[in-house]
């Protein structure tokens, strides 16, 4: 019982401290949209790097990743490395820097706004925002599920799943409604540094009691020798490549990540973040996923509906430390959810509510609507998370796949003057249509040339259907753009950066 009190105290205390930081940040925030959402475009290197980093540091990576490593081996590190460390960094330049240049010139705050302006189409603006909000829903759910499962694992079920999920939902809403981007960016930085430190301390702690790196790895070699050889089981080349590609492209279109492309103070900030990115990814994910892998060798058994990381820490580190790590992870998930909800609310108010419902809305009324929208969205996601429709990785993959469908049409629009409004609609709606069908229509086995193929399944011969959707989006955008002519309202010159 005393242990439960310590655990609950540490978790609550940590969340409260994070909230206070947000409130302090709020005091320097005005209600103006550019400040609320973009912190006045004044974010420096360390803060930008960590706010993007912390946004990636979600239940998906922090709990889902170690769970996969525990069940199938540490190759998930490679997936994360290729996807976040290299591919995402390159996209950071190709999409991010370009968007930053364009955004600075014309004052864009959201992706939809940028595209709507370029193609002279409010409907395109609204469509992009609506699609983004659709896929945001499962991703917010993911954080709630992660928090619920983490507390189950930490307290051995004394704190039930629903209570953990409810706790993070409450803090999310409180936080976003009182802070804004400046508050989120500040806590993200503190959280990112904190998580990086504690995960390394956790590694040292665990290793010191199991005979060091070699001891831990030999234990895995004895219990699960297949974990140490590259590939095998879940990890086929098709799986590694499709997961890495889909997630890397998907990440760039997440509202909270995409909006960060607009917030850097100068291009120096973007450059430094770009170069530091692969090392930062390695520093966090190698220890986190190795802990998951070692847990398998150490004979840790994970109760149904819990995550491996809290269980392992409980076994090898003092209760307060395990609670601190979990609190840090939950707080990090909270701040990624906050970023998501915050960006989501700007998509909702600027790209949907204002253009379609109430064009003359006042700034303070808009801010109120944004905050109410956040609360409604988070509570909706909370109720959906209670149904636990899949594992953390499955839910995460679904959301990433949905966003990935947007990436190629957007990239084409940024670089090719020949893209037309019809081309954009075709590419975006066509790929979303294909992907949505595969997510929601149950799979049907059919006979093709003597072998059984599952139609509408999420993968075809091991390749994620999201890849096919991306290819279709690319194809449709190019084909329809070539076949149609631009209307007078379309202005390719809006995306020109050469004459800057």
């Amino acid at each position: 019982m005393a242990e439960l009190a310590i655990q609950a105290g540490v978790v609550l205390g940590y969340l409260l401290v994070a909230l206070i930081v947000g409130v302090v940040a709020y005091r320097v925030t005005t209600n103006a949209a550019e400040d609320y959402y973009l912190a006045g475009r004044s974010i420096g290197t360390v803060v930008l790097l960590f706010t993007t980093f912390a946004t990636l540091l979600s239940a998906f990576t922090f709990f889902g990743g170690p769970n996969v490593a525990y069940a199938a081996g540490p190759e998930w590190i490679l997936v994360m490395g290729v996807m976040d460390g290299v591919l995402f960094a390159i996209l950071w330049y190709v999409l991010g820097y370009k968007q930053w240049l364009v955004g600075r010139k014309h004052g864009y705050v959201t992706l939809g706004e940028m595209l709507g302006d370029r193609f002279g189409s409010t409907r395109l603006r609204g469509t992009v925002a609506a699609i983004s909000l659709l896929w945001l829903f499962p991703y917010v759910m993911l954080q709630q599920m992660g928090a619920g499962e983490a507390l189950v694992g930490l307290t051995n079920g004394a704190i039930p799943y629903w209570a953990g999920a409810a706790l993070i939902t409450l803090f999310m809403i409180l936080y976003v409604t009182v802070a804004g981007m400046r508050g989120v960016a500040w806590t993200d930085t503190i959280q990112g540094l904190f998580m990086l430190s504690v995960i390394w301390i956790a590694v040292v702690w665990v290793l010191s009691s199991v005979g060091g790196l070699s001891g831990a790895t030999s234990a895995v070699a004895a219990s699960n020798p297949e974990f140490l050889s590259l590939g095998g089981g879940l990890y086929t080349p098709a799986y590694i490549i499709s997961t890495a590609v889909v997630i890397a492209f998907g990440v760039t279109m997440f509202p909270q990540i995409n909006q960060r492309f607009f917030v850097a103070k100068s291009d120096r900030v973007l450059k430094r973040s770009f170069a530091l990115w692969p090392v930062l990814v390695i520093l966090l994910f190698v220890p986190a996923f190795l802990l998951g892998t070692w847990a398998a060798g150490l004979g840790i058994s994970v109760p149904e509906g819990a995550n491996v990381l809290p269980v392992l820490l409980n076994e090898y580190t003092p209760a307060w430390f395990a609670a601190l790590v979990i609190a840090g992870a939950i707080a990090a998930m909270m701040s990624s959810s906050d970023s998501m909800l915050l960006s989501g609310s700007s998509y909702f108010t600027r790209d949907l509510y204002r253009p379609f419902i109430e064009p003359a809305v006042s700034e303070s009324r808009e801010a109120t609507i944004a905050r109410v929208g956040v609360a409604v969205f988070a509570i909706g996601a909370f109720f959906a998370s209670l149904t636990r429709p899949g594992t953390l990785i499955e839910i995460g993959n679904t959301a990433f796949g949905g966003y990935a469908q947007l990436a190629l049409p957007v990239m084409l629009a940024l670089y090719w003057d020949g893209v037309t409004k019809s081309g954009m609609f075709a590419g975006i709606l066509g790929s979303q249509g294909l992907y949505l069908t595969h997510v929601f229509v149950p799979s049907v086995p059919i006979e093709v040339a003597g072998t059984t193929v599952s139609l509408f399944a999420r993968t075809y011969v091991g390749w994620d259907v999201a890849l096919a959707g991306m290819a279709l989006g690319l194809l449709l955008t190019v084909a329809v753009s070539t076949a149609t002519t631009a209307t007078a309202a379309e202005r390719p010159d809006r995306f020109a950066t050469g004459a800057d």
Partner: protein, 71 residues
């Protein structure tokens, strides 16, 4: 070397960075060195290399790549 040539070179470098972040030639290998599988060491080293290459890129080609003359 012309700028066009340099651009192609950078694209090739990036493609190699992506392609070999997973050491495909070690597929199925389970040799452990200094407590970790060799393929994991390769990956860690490769990420450090990627950071260095990215840093060089930001100094040499970042602005030119976007046609910006003075970032």
């Amino acid at each position: 070397m012309g700028y066009r040539m340099l651009d192609i070179l950078w694209i090739a470098v990036f493609a190699i960075l992506v392609a070999f972040a997973v050491p495909w030639f070690l597929w199925g290998d389970s040799t452990v060195v200094a407590g970790l599988p060799v393929w994991l060491w390769w990956h860690i080293g490769w990420m450090v290399l990627a950071s260095i290459v990215f840093w060089v890129f930001t100094n040499r080609a970042w602005d030119r790549g976007m046609g910006v003359t003075n970032g």
